[in-house]
């Protein structure tokens, strides 16, 4: 009995502590205590992304004195941001807002349970159909775009092309012929930067336009477990393109160590002729080499025929809120701002024009870099396809390791395709997709 008595003061102390805590958080959320602060969590990997978030936050806070948005770019880069975001969401520890990919990666976050549904905002109607699908489930819409649509393909050095009298290739065979000529002239035909492992996937991912040109139902069939990369010649070809370049020894000698910024420097300096990357990197070209930005052009990954030539596009990343946020109304107001012409202006201010916006009413204004200029006609002609990750939830996590294996000659295209199929199967099973 005496022990019982002794525990009581302790219990009482706990209760008082809990009350005090409750009192604190109640006070913090009150409306009389100045502006509500929204924290926006993101990875530290891409400086342009951070600049964009900070510009959006500053412009919104200026127009809405009662809400202050603070960017917290303390997250890790690369594969580790995925783990951080999943863990923070799963444990209810996420900030009021966070920056993350749209499409398959977003859908793996279990949005219906973990994210704040913002589908009741009028601004959702202004989002382009293609984009809205990548941040929505059957039950709601969850994100607002923090950038413009992008394309994936090859940046190329225009002076090298002019000196050698080459034309922008429309088929893979033309491209390989160009590479031979470039190599003969003593320039590395294709720059790779496996030091940033994710960049090894670019040729493969940006080839999706050509896969769907040959197999229009590929994405749906893949989702339903009715097709594989290894058994679909057009899909296997994406791996074979990496393999062909590696076997022809077309990469720069230090391709295993180079990182993105160094690769762009090599391209601008004319040490290499092509660099496969997403067009968001045009901002890096303009920042680091403002005088040479017009020397860099862009073309999509070429396919089998010149008639079926088109661009694989990427939807912009988005800002989301966790379902646990204490300030849902303020969060929704902020997202409405992001997905408005004013928001587009903030984005343009921060990173320049990187492509067409996915919000109705946003126009491309001001200077456009040569890279974007080369890309826009594909959007205007409708010769585009979203990348696979915006069409299917199936996205095995190890693709970048497989493309590194093919690029370094550790494995063949066939091996990598089979391994990627197995990787996809593991992912689909772990996430409980139907039919796997």
């Amino acid at each position: 009995m005496s022990q019982r008595f002794r525990t009581r003061p302790f219990t009482a102390a706990l209760a008082i502590g809990a009350l005090a805590l409750a009192g604190c958080s109640g006070g913090g959320g009150g409306e009389d205590d100045g502006p509500v602060t929204l924290t926006w969590y993101m990875g530290a990997g891409v400086p342009d992304d951070i600049a964009t978030a900070e510009q959006l936050a500053a412009d919104f806070s200026a127009a809405n004195p009662d809400v202050e948005v603070v960017v917290d770019a303390s997250g890790p880069a690369g594969v580790e941001i995925d783990a951080q975001i999943r863990t923070k969401l799963g444990t209810g520890d996420m900030a009021d807002l966070f920056w993350y990919n749209s499409g398959a990666l977003m859908k793996q976050l279990n949005p219906d349970q973990q994210l704040l549904n913002v589908g009741d905002g009028a601004w959702v109607e202004d989002l382009s159909e293609d984009y809205r699908g990548t941040v929505s489930t059957e039950n709601g819409t969850y994100g607002a775009p923090v950038g413009a649509a992008m394309g994936g393909g090859f940046f190329y050095n225009v002076p090298v092309y002019e000196e050698l009298g080459l034309e922008v290739p429309k088929t893979w065979d033309d491209f390989m012929a160009n590479n031979e000529a470039i190599k003969a002239a003593g320039v590395d035909p294709v720059i790779q930067s496996y030091g940033d492992t994710w960049t090894s996937q670019m040729i493969f991912l940006a080839d999706y336009f050509n896969i769907q040109a040959a197999e229009p139902d590929f994405a749906d069939d893949l989702t339903a477990n009715e097709t594989t990369f290894a058994e679909t010649p057009a899909a296997l070809a994406s791996f074979q393109k990496v393999e062909a370049l590696a076997e022809a020894d077309h990469f720069n000698v230090d391709f295993q160590n180079l990182v993105l910024d160094q690769a762009i420097a090599k391209l601008v300096n004319g040490e290499g002729a092509h660099y496969p990357i997403l067009t968001f990197a045009q901002a890096t070209v303009q920042q680091n080499f403002p005088d040479d930005a017009d020397d860099i052009g862009f073309f999509p990954v070429p396919g089998g025929s010149a008639e079926d030539h088109g661009l694989t596009t990427w939807m912009p990343s988005s800002v989301y809120a966790p379902a646990t946020t204490e300030h849902p109304e303020e969060v929704k107001r902020f997202m409405a701002f992001v997905a408005s012409p004013d928001g587009c202006d903030s984005i343009t201010e921060a990173r320049g024009v990187t492509g067409p916006y996915v919000v109705a009413g946003c126009e491309i204004e001001g200077d456009v870099s040569r890279i974007v200029e080369d890309m826009l006609p594909y959007f205007e002609d409708g010769a585009t396809s979203p990348a696979l990750e915006f069409l299917s939830q199936v996205k095995g996590p190890n693709l970048q390791a497989f493309t590194v294996e093919v690029g370094t000659g550790i494995s063949t295209a066939e091996d990598a395709a089979r391994a990627y199929d197995a990787d996809n199967a593991v992912q689909a099973q772990q996430l409980g997709l139907e039919g796997w």
Partner: protein, 314 residues
């Protein structure tokens, strides 16, 4: 703690006979327990909640697919996946290669260094400190530093080799070399601890043995073979066990230097588990942790029993 040795091994028999029988029986088991049971409770609660419970829970979650919010029981599927995926299995074999290499090198080189550093060598204290310093440095820091040093083109190592006319390989980018390079850095970083343990063992050998051997005219090799090696056996067992466990569950150095690459060439179980976790495959990654737990236990427990039995035979 200091109370324990001072406790009487056979406490005096209390005067009253009734409780005495009970007490004596009790004391037969509890002779080494100076505290009443409730005294252990706080530690037991902490240990139970933070270690036992999660361990038991992980055995359950290893048989499920779970997303923090919901779980689905899938039997042995996760383990089947782990062992049938060639690239997951590669991490499994790499773990053993890595553990045996690093442990072996630390056991042998650590002993040799300890012998040098217990001899009357010049600047002995300074050299001991220098050998030990890498142990104090953050592993990730060491990994990043060596990643830069081992860069095939701009790295100090290959530039130094170039001076004497050798074209150095891609230490971390050649798939057949990457794991070995990391193992070498691990040995460099960890050998200080092994050496320290050996030094303690060697210093503890009574000087009479060496004097007697000298009187009998034993060679340096004979002293080493028949006195030092047998007498540092307890230290050697500690080094083997510690470095083997460390090698089997290594993660930070590999992650900082190659991230398991190129491709999967330097993946070990721990980095594989981490990647599964990062991808949101919590069930599969927990299964990997259970595998790692069983592997470490299966490798170390028999070794421990074997080595300790041997030491008693001496």
């Amino acid at each position: 703690m200091s109370l324990a040795p001072s406790q009487p091994i056979r406490p005096p028999i209390p005067p009253s006979t009734g409780p005495a029988i009970r007490t004596r029986r009790k004391l037969g088991n509890r002779v080494n327990k100076p505290y009443p049971g409730w005294f252990y409770a706080p530690a037991a609660v902490i240990y139970g909640v933070l270690f036992i419970a999660p361990t038991l829970a992980s055995f359950y979650f290893a048989f499920t697919r779970w997303s923090f919010a919901e779980t689905e029981f899938v039997g042995f599927d996760n383990f089947v996946t782990f062992f049938t995926e060639p690239r997951l299995f590669k991490g499994f074999t790499n773990t053993f290669i890595y553990a045996v290499l690093t442990s072996g090198a630390k056991v042998v080189l650590g002993l040799l260094l300890a012998i040098v550093l217990t001899s009357g060598i010049f600047a002995r204290g300074y050299l001991r400190a220098v050998i030990f310093f890498p142990v104090l440095v953050s592993t990730v820091g060491v990994g990043i530093t060596f990643k830069i040093l081992l860069d095939p083109f701009d790295g100090l190592v290959n530039k130094a080799l170039a001076v004497i006319g050798i074209q150095g390989p891609g230490w971390l980018t050649d798939p057949s070399l990457a794991l070995l390079s990391i193992a070498a850095v691990d040995v460099w970083k960890g050998i200080g601890l092994a050496t320290l343990i050996y030094i303690a063992g060697i210093v503890a050998i009574p000087n009479e043995y060496f004097e007697a051997a000298k009187v009998d005219g034993a060679s340096a090799w004979a002293v080493f073979r028949h006195i030092t090696v047998p007498m540092v056996r307890p230290a050697m067992i500690t080094v083997i066990i510690l470095s083997l466990i460390g090698g089997l569950r290594t993660f930070d150095l590999i992650w900082a230097m190659t991230g398991g690459g190129p491709g999967f060439a330097s993946d070990v179980i721990a980095s594989t588990i981490y990647k599964q976790y990062a991808a949101g495959f919590y069930g599969l990654s927990t299964a990997g942790n259970v595998v790692l737990f069983l592997v470490v236990t299966a490798a170390v427990l028999p070794l421990y029993l074997f080595l300790n039995r041997k030491s008693k035979d001496l």
